[in-house]
């Protein structure tokens, strides 16, 4: 798998506070990487380091194969667009003027792509309306348009749906999916709104206290969170034999417990197990939510 961003033991310390404490993560090319963590877990700090706003105090990262200590890192950064915390816009300018400013910063030869960008984010009819009069959702979309100015290969969005109304959330979600599918743009989206992330992300990185506690694909997460039957039996080998015969998916947890990913008829199961001299002691239905899974990974304490 090709990775666009790789970090290794990345650290950022502010005096005694460790915002990042040996963070290692890998962002696959073309993915929508959901960067999940509580407030203060280190999500924004990592984004600031990748964007060059701050320097790491230890470890390293590679952006498109270029190490952060390498002078060519600035060239790699040109392939990245970002909206860090809030969109960076001049409030007294119109959407078009903000994009023009960005085009000039990038040294683009003309402004021919501005109309298309405004249309892409649904701001093509804002005319002379100044950004200070925009809604939060409109600002967020303009922030994304600005981040896309140089035909970027990767976008980093820090809490992109914070403060948005349901309509705004849907608009941003659809825009991200569209850009990922049509333009093959890799996304890193930091958020603590897991439900929303689960509608987008193809990969996840769970961060807690400045460290990645788990990285996984959406499929792996789905498997971890799917509905199951937790069975306690006297002999898991016998249970495995019975379930194999029935063609049902399961995971043996230990000598007496197993997870069954189906809804078998309990009476039939008890009968078949009895034939194998195995007793079903207890049986309970389980469904892990994304939130539940996250809490099981990082514990319930606050970072703040």
């Amino acid at each position: 798998m090709e990775y666009v961003l790789k970090t290794k033991d990345l650290c950022k310390h502010y005096k005694d506070f460790k915002a990042l404490d040996g963070l290692t993560m890998n962002v696959p090319k073309g993915s929508i990487y959901g960067f999940v963590g509580r407030n203060g877990a280190g999500k924004t700090t990592l984004i600031r380091l990748v964007c060059g706003l701050q320097m790491p105090t230890g470890g390293e990262f590679e952006l498109y194969g270029v190490k952060c200590s390498d002078k060519a890192i600035n060239e790699s950064r040109r392939r990245v667009g970002a909206v860090v915390e809030s969109p960076s816009l001049y409030p007294d300018m119109t959407a078009e003027d903000n994009l023009r400013y960005q085009y000039r910063l990038l040294g683009m030869p003309d402004y021919s792509g501005i109309d298309e960008l405004l249309k892409l984010v649904g701001l093509d009819k804002t005319g002379k309306k100044k950004v200070k009069n925009f809604s939060l959702g409109m600002r967020q979309r303009l922030g994304i348009a600005i981040a896309l100015c140089g035909d970027q290969d990767m976008l980093i969005l820090d809490e992109p749906i914070n403060g948005l109304d349901p309509q705004g959330i849907i608009e941003i979600r659809e825009l991200i999916i569209k850009l990922n599918r049509e333009r093959k743009i890799t996304f890193i989206i930091s958020s603590h709104i897991l439900d929303e992330l689960s509608k987008l992300a193809t990969h996840y990185g769970f961060i807690d206290r400045g460290r990645i506690v788990r990285e996984m694909s959406a499929e792996e997460l789905e498997a971890a969170c799917r509905k199951s039957l937790r069975a306690e039996v006297t002999d898991t080998a016998a249970l495995a034999m019975v379930l194999d015969k029935r063609g049902e998916e399961y995971t043996i947890i230990d000598d007496t417990h197993a997870e069954i990913y189906a809804r078998p008829n309990i009476s039939d199961l008890v009968f078949e197990l009895a034939e194998e001299n195995c007793k079903l002691s207890s049986c309970s239905e389980r469904e892990e939510t994304l939130e539940g899974y996250f809490i099981s990974l990082v514990g319930g304490d606050s970072n703040e």
Partner: protein
């Protein structure tokens, strides 16, 4: 750096703050001549008196006014968060700093030109006699411009340390609080070697006493070198500080 300049100069040229500042500059340029006409009718002496008043304004208020304008324009980058876009696009910290330095120069030059244009135009319209030795006048204006630029770079250094529009007020206070003790020092010990040296880097020393734009400057090239050297030190310090600064 060219990309940064080509983006920021149109932004500043369109800024309402710049036009408000220029209006104020026109008012001051005209007022510093018109006030003298209320004191004397001697059209031959008007220039000397007006330029004496003007130098006082140029040394006390103008650097702060011009520096404040630059600080407000640059601080807008921090308050709006647009500074982040420059980093994300891969512009180096040094090139961002140099572009700010160029912007500070642009605002200083614009305000300086507008001020002197108004000053001389008002003199001419009012029929004042201009001096024969315009070379000395322009040398003095050049030196005062360098002093103003040096203060601009001091403001730039301060902006790097504390990037907020409030820094304009801090710089104003720093300038004015140091003015009286410095003036007293130069008036009491102006002949000592140390004071003569300090007069080459501090505008209050350079313009102390009966200085006017007609006063023949002593070794203006040496004064220029001293000012440029100190300006370079401010720039180096600003760069060193900005390179290590964590931005949000």
């Amino acid at each position: 750096m060219n990309k940064l300049m080509s983006a920021d100069i149109p932004r500043i040229i369109k800024s309402k703050i710049l036009y408000a500042a220029l209006l104020f500059t026109v008012f001051l340029g005209a007022a510093s001549v018109l006030v003298v006409f209320t004191e004397t009718d001697d059209k031959a002496a008007i220039f000397a008196v007006a330029s004496n008043d003007m130098v006082m304004f140029l040394s006390t208020l103008f650097p702060v006014f011009s520096g404040g304008l630059s600080i407000i324009l640059i601080a807008a980058e921090f308050s709006s968060g647009v500074i982040r876009n420059k980093f994300i696009m891969g512009h180096s910290r040094t090139s961002i700093l140099l572009s700010w330095c160029a912007l500070y120069s642009v605002t200083t030059i614009i305000t300086f030109v507008v001020y002197f244009a108004t000053f001389f135009l008002t003199l001419i319209i009012k029929g004042a006699v201009l001096p024969d030795d315009m070379g000395t006048v322009f040398t003095n204006i050049g030196i005062i411009f360098l002093f103003t630029m040096k203060f601009q770079l001091f403001c730039l250094l301060m902006t790097c340390i504390y990037p907020d529009a409030k820094m304009a007020v801090i710089c104003y206070l720093l300038n004015n609080l140091t003015m009286v003790p410095l003036l007293l020092m130069f008036m009491n010990n102006g002949d000592s070697t140390l004071m003569k040296f300090l007069a080459r880097i501090l505008i209050f020393g350079y313009t102390a006493g009966d200085y006017t734009l007609l006063t023949k400057p002593d070794k203006p090239w040496l004064t220029a070198i001293c000012i440029i050297t100190l300006s370079a030190v401010y720039m180096i310090l600003a760069n060193a500080y900005f390179k290590r600064k964590d931005l949000k």
